[in-house]
């Protein structure tokens, strides 16, 4: 393994982005983007393997030793997140070609791929860096390209959705900068590991809790924690199919990773939970997200919006796991981060197939698709079952760990609410399934099954849902080790 892999993980896609813009030919720019995503995936898998077998890697940019220079640090936690982000990108890009050609004008396609690759670069950068200000820079790279990507949706509401996201996202990012600045004022360092060492001595100072508060709220805005989720449903619903599939399964996940990083690595579990009592805020909000957002999802007439609300609810599951602050709970959160990326990726990609053939993703438009687009809808059904948490799918594994973590601490009402969330998921998934399978097809019968270039990537994710649901040793093992690393116990 090249020792430069941590930085190449980010730099290669960063170089690919201008290349994709320069080639100016839709097909070629797609190829560049695809190769970049493949590279990122390959290197992320190598890094994960290395971290698991050897141990964390620290890379010094410009050979300046931390805490003066910028450090890229890969450990069990972010290596896993790197694999998720780049893996989803590598699956979404083959899917993108046909979908994007249909949804976006020809001359803007190279720009689309540039933005997509930049977005991935930003997300990978947030994940890999060990420098808090670097986090902000990459966050803005990914966010700005995400705003642009969302605005490329066909519906004009995509514009207002992107605008709303821009305003709320910028406020969140600015909060994060304030938090970082206040920490810098107190400690004079921006390196995460260094901060973690210096902060405990200053806990009594009032600036540190303020910094903590700004950071938590800022990150919560980015990860769409209820009730800071208002930007998310429209952004997911009106963005181009490819963008929804990519962003839904990566952007909020990376924000969850940021939350993990800050409250566990930088501030430490003792400060976050014993001094600041973060769990008293996060647990109720997470539970509210699970229940209220699942209920909202039931009443959505647009399936992409329905899934978006469900995403907010699912983020509640991840945050709930984190708020339990135990190895099992944090592991459940990390596990769901991975699993939910697979679930929502598959579901949004299935909806992209529907969009491609039917031109709408409203529930009425699904009528009879069980017969006219059997493979697409079968993918949706399996994805939906996984969302519900039926055994032998990834969704089940997440719920298993989450419920166990709650029971471990004797919080059985929490366990019950988690399961109630699954039941609400049954309702909103089944609403779509019934229309697809029991209503007569509308229109002149010209609707055909989606092309293979869309179906194969969708089914790759669907099968991943089943595969990691049957053999979860790898994912669960990594999640447990990551949680141990974050909490600083065992391993």
């Amino acid at each position: 393994m090249s020792p430069h892999l941590p930085v190449l993980q980010v730099v290669v896609p960063l170089l690919a982005a201008p290349v994709a813009a320069l080639v100016r030919r839709p097909r070629l720019s797609w190829l560049v983007a695809f190769l970049a995503a493949l590279w990122a995936f390959g290197s992320a898998v190598t890094l994960l393997h290395h971290v698991l077998s050897v141990g964390p890697i620290s890379y010094h940019i410009g050979d300046w030793a931390p805490p003066w220079g910028i450090e890229y640090r890969v450990d069990q936690v972010n290596a896993f997140v790197l694999v998720i982000v780049s893996g989803i990108a590598a699956v979404v890009l083959p899917y993108a070609r046909a979908s994007v050609e249909w949804e976006i004008e020809n001359e803007r396609i190279p720009l689309f791929y540039t933005a997509l690759i930049l977005c991935m670069t930003g997300l990978l950068g947030i994940t890999v860096t060990g420098d808090v200000f670097n986090v902000f820079v990459f966050l803005e790279i990914s966010s700005l390209s995400a705003y642009a990507l969302i605005a490329m949706g066909q519906d004009r509401r995509a514009l207002t959705a992107a605008y709303q996201y821009l305003i709320m996202g910028s406020v969140g990012a600015t909060f994060i900068v304030i938090g970082i600045g206040l920490m810098y004022v107190m400690t004079g360092t921006l390196n995460m590991a260094d901060l973690a060492q210096r902060l405990p001595a200053m806990e009594a100072n009032r600036t540190i809790p303020v910094a903590f508060a700004f950071l938590t709220v800022g990150i919560s805005l980015k990860l769409a924690l209820f009730p800071l989720h208002l930007w998310l449903p429209n952004a997911y619903a009106y963005a181009p199919s490819t963008v929804t599939a990519f962003i839904a399964s990566t952007a909020t996940k990376v924000a969850v990773y940021m939350l993990l990083r800050f409250i566990f690595t930088v501030f430490g579990v003792a400060f976050s939970f014993d001094v600041m009592n973060l769990d008293r805020i996060l647990t109720p909000l997470a539970l509210a997200a699970i229940v209220f957002m699942s209920l909202s999802a039931i009443y959505q007439p647009n399936v992409k919006r329905l899934l978006a609300y469900s995403s907010v609810a699912q983020i509640g599951y991840m945050v709930l796991g984190i708020s339990l602050a135990s190895v099992l709970g944090v592991a459940a959160g990390i596990l769901h981060l991975f699993n939910h990326a697979l679930i929502k990726g598959a579901l949004f990609m299935a909806m992209g197939c529907v969009m491609y053939r039917v031109g709408s993703v409203r529930i009425e438009a699904m009528a009879g698709l069980g017969r006219t687009m059997p493979f697409t809808m079968a993918a949706f059904v399996v994805g939906g079952l996984s969302l519900i948490g039926v055994p032998l799918t990834v969704g089940f594994i997440s719920k298993l760990y989450l419920v166990r973590a709650a029971l471990e601490q004797g919080m059985w009402p929490v366990a019950v609410l988690v399961l109630v969330g699954s039941l609400l998921a049954v309702i909103y998934v089944w609403k779509v399934v019934e229309v697809a399978y029991f209503r007569q097809p509308i229109g002149d019968g010209s609707i055909r099954e989606a092309p293979l270039s869309l179906l194969i990537p969708t089914w790759v994710l669907v099968l991943a849902n089943i595969w990691f649901g049957i053999d979860a040793k790898l994912t669960a093992g990594v999640a447990i080790r990551a949680a141990q690393a974050l909490l600083g116990v065992g391993s």
């Binding site: 200000f133 902000f136 820079v137 803005e140 700005l144 705003y147 642009a148 605005a151 004009r156 509401r157 514009l159 207002t160 992107a162 605008y163 821009l166 305003i167 910028s170 406020v171 990012a173 600015t174 900068v177 304030i178 600045g181 810098y184 004022v185 921006l190």
Partner: protein, 119 residues
Amino acid sequence: MKILGLYNYWIVIGLMMIGFYTMISRGNLVKKLVGLSVFQTSVMILYISMGKILGGTAPILIEGRENVVYTNPIPSVLILTAIVVGVATLAVGLALVVRIKEAYGTIEEDEIHEQDDVM
């Protein structure tokens, strides 16, 4: 005196609240962006003021002179990045507003909502 001595923080807080309030209270999309800019500017002042040392000079090494007090350059460098980000955000935001105007014929939030609700 202590409270007045921290005047830079009062400026920061004042600007921050002005920007935040503008963002929340105004329905005009451009005015919201102006509010966002003011909000971001307040953070820039926060950074720059915390790096400043009274009597400090620009951190340039000059041969033959020692014991010179320098201003910490790192916050300035950091905030330069934030300024770039702010400019980019503003540009993207304005571009969006232009296209919203073309699509809806208005940049007033409530009128846009009305048009969307009709659909």
